[in-house]
């Protein structure tokens, strides 16, 4: 890695021929690499933009002048399809109206994205936390703890996760409601977040474990140990700062994954239930009207694909930028 850093230093100094040669941290190098990737930058802007729009949904909808709850039943025909030209797409309703209720699609998409993103973000955070803690513990302490953790990850990885979540959904949601942690859709969100992370952390924990194992053999860790640092200090001050690259990549790639997962479960009728709105519910609603009003399906599916694509591209760009072996 040192060689590569020197190489890129030379590159940068030859480009900026005036001024003294300034060393750059790995963070700066990665940032420079990332900025050069046009597709990555655009996707990152879209990804962040979508999250901001979703967080600010009440404000954004008010600015655009659309409302998620107003029904427009008067413009629907007997089958529930809007009779307006272009499926109701107009200045007042930029993405048209939802068949059946006549609600504004753009407002519903914005509001719906909040639960979808909430599930994705909560699941990613929980997975990240469990995977990071257990991965570091296993990789750093080794020995019996590591062996037990290894067995547990093997065991969980041999479970068909998607299948288990489908099979467990109804009974487990009932259980959660009985214990009184949450009711209704709250219980479904708890269920999804808990089980998606329960089956998701082993993948990430394996990655972190291997990283932690190689880091603990590095000189700076040996030096810290020689100085008598406590394990806690080594983990928090020496290991964690060196693990941020896989963490960032993991976050940017697992967010779209869980976003899609939420929509899949809602699509199957096992996730969050109407009248709450998520992208999965909109999609499953759209499939009922796919022959009479294909625009609805195209817009919702297109938005989901666009967001997932943007996040995936951002993740790929980040991975390329953070990879020390990358000598672009």
């Amino acid at each position: 890695m040192a060689v590569k850093i020197r190489k890129s230093r030379e590159l940068s100094s030859s480009r900026a021929s005036t001024g003294p040669i300034v060393g750059r941290s790995p963070k700066q190098i990665a940032w420079t690499r990332f900025k050069r990737n046009k597709v990555g930058v655009v996707s990152a802007i879209i990804s962040v933009g979508v999250i901001v729009l979703s967080l600010l949904a009440p404000i954004v909808t008010r600015i655009i002048g659309v409302d998620p709850n107003t029904l427009h039943l008067d413009v629907l025909d007997v089958t529930g399809v809007p009779t307006l030209p272009h499926a109701g797409i107009s200045m007042a309703h930029p993405l048209g109206l939802i068949p059946g209720t006549g609600r504004d699609l753009l407002a519903q998409l914005l509001y719906g994205s909040r639960i979808s993103f909430m599930v994705a973000i909560l699941t990613t955070s929980l997975t990240l936390f469990i995977g990071l803690v257990l991965g570091i513990v296993g990789g750093y302490f080794r020995g019996r703890v590591d062996a037990v953790l290894g067995r547990i990850t093997d065991f969980l990885l041999s479970f068909p996760a998607f299948f288990m979540i489908v099979a467990l959904s109804t009974p487990m949601v009932d259980r959660i409601q009985q214990t009184g942690i949450a009711k209704g859709n709250g219980a479904r969100i708890v269920f999804l977040v808990f089980f998606l992370s329960f089956f998701g952390w082993p993948y990430f924990s394996r990655l972190i474990r291997s990283q932690a194992m190689s880091l603990r053999e590095r000189d700076f860790v040996t030096a810290a140990q020689a100085m008598g640092s406590s394990n806690r200090r080594i983990i928090f001050r020496e290991l964690l700062p060196n693990l941020w690259a896989p963490v960032i990549v993991f976050v940017s790639l697992s967010l779209p994954g869980y976003l899609a997962a939420e929509s899949v479960f809602s699509f199957l009728g096992l996730g969050i239930q109407p009248p709450a709105s998520t992208w999965g519910i909109l999609l499953s609603n759209a499939t009922r009207f796919v022959t009479t009003m294909p625009q609805f399906f195209i817009i919702v599916a297109g938005s989901l694909v666009l967001v997932v694509l943007a996040f995936n591209l951002t993740g790929d760009a980040l991975r390329d930028a953070l990879d020390p072996r990358n000598d672009r």
Binding site: F155, F163, A301
Partner: protein, 330 residues
């Protein structure tokens, strides 16, 4: 080798046992009465009690589990006297919703799921590995760029979006690919009808999986091409074709066998989404319906089956790996 195999066998058996115990326990501690679920609207307290005794739900949990396990190997008889009914081994339970032994139902569903999984596997291996090899061979040129666009869409499009698009637009509106709605036909009795029925599910699944395999194959081949023994092979004057065919593929494609077997195992457990979209009465759709209907014996059976297939595939893969990759010594 023999000790390795036997150790892995024991380990797989233990895992399978724990998984089945876990699944059984999870569904047993659920907040509803399994006996009350057997009769639907015709339930009277008397019927529920009779069914509870008939199905053994009055016994302690460990005894129920033991009877379940015993039934898998020796078959199981429910009830006594003239009202008794018998499910031959392997008995996974009795589905009251269909009035049939679960195993009997499984025999109807399995061919459909297998047809979906095998066809999709063949398609995605051809497309995925083929594109991956092309992309690695012409790294940085247009085939590489084209395949990376394919990878991007394949990994970003959820299965139900691809599936519905194929069904509604490609098949029904544009009539590019014909599809049959005539129900399951065996490949041996009506090959054309068989392909017509399964072609869309195959493409749907293969599209998602092929993308992953393209990415994986490309990376794997490029990594292998960087090995010292490839340099040696080139240095001794072998043609590029030989270097690729003989020295690269074997090492580069070995991990793909692992990946493919595990993905395949996952599909046998049920391609839930694909079967639902195309209305194929396979294991996935069956499970989903049973989840809606609280048909617990079916859910327990398919869940254990799905986990079992993954565990057994894992075992097979470990052994295959030793044969395929000369660097693995056991």
């Amino acid at each position: 080798m023999l000790t390795f195999v036997s150790r892995r066998l024991v380990y797989a058996a233990i895992t399978l046992l724990i998984v089945s115990m876990a699944v059984y326990a999870i569904f047993a501690i659920l907040p509803f009465d399994p006996a009350a679920l057997t009769c639907g609207q015709h339930c009277t307290p008397l019927v529920i009690r009779a069914n509870r005794i008939k199905l053994g739900f009055d016994k302690p949990l460990w005894e129920q589990y033991w009877m379940f396990l015993h039934g898998i190997f020796a078959g199981r008889t429910y009830g006594v006297g003239s009202a008794a009914f018998h499910c031959p081994a392997p008995a996974f339970g009795y589905s009251f919703n269909d009035n049939m032994c679960v195993t009997e139902l499984l025999q109807q569903k399995l061919p459909i799921t297998l047809s979906v999984a095998i066809g999709a596997l063949i398609l995605w291996l051809i497309v995925g590995v083929g594109l991956g090899i092309l992309a690695a061979r012409f790294k940085g040129r247009w085939p590489d760029t084209a395949s990376s666009v394919f990878v991007l869409f394949g990994t970003s499009l959820p299965v139900f979006v691809t599936g519905l698009f194929l069904l509604i637009w490609v098949s029904i509106k544009w009539k590019i690919i014909p599809i049959s709605f005539l129900g399951y036909v065996s490949v041996f009795s009506d090959p054309i009808g068989f392909v017509k029925l399964f072609i869309l599910p195959w493409i749907t699944l293969a599209f998602a999986f092929a993308a992953l395999y393209t990415r994986f194959t490309r990376a794997s081949i490029l990594e292998t091409l960087g090995e010292d023994y490839i340099r040696t092979a080139r240095a001794k004057g072998l043609s590029e074709k030989k270097v690729l065919r003989i020295h690269t593929f074997r090492a580069a494609l070995a991990p793909i066998v692992t990946l493919a077997s595990l993905d395949f195992a996952g599909l046998i457990g049920g391609a839930i989404l694909t079967e639902t979209i195309f209305n194929l009465p396979g294991i996935g759709q069956w499970t989903l319906r049973s989840v809606y209907e609280f048909n617990l014996p079916v859910v327990v059976c398919t869940t254990i089956l799905a986990a079992g297939v993954v565990i057994i595939m894992n075992l097979i893969v470990d052994m295959l790996y030793a044969v395929l990759d000369p660097r693995v010594r056991i």
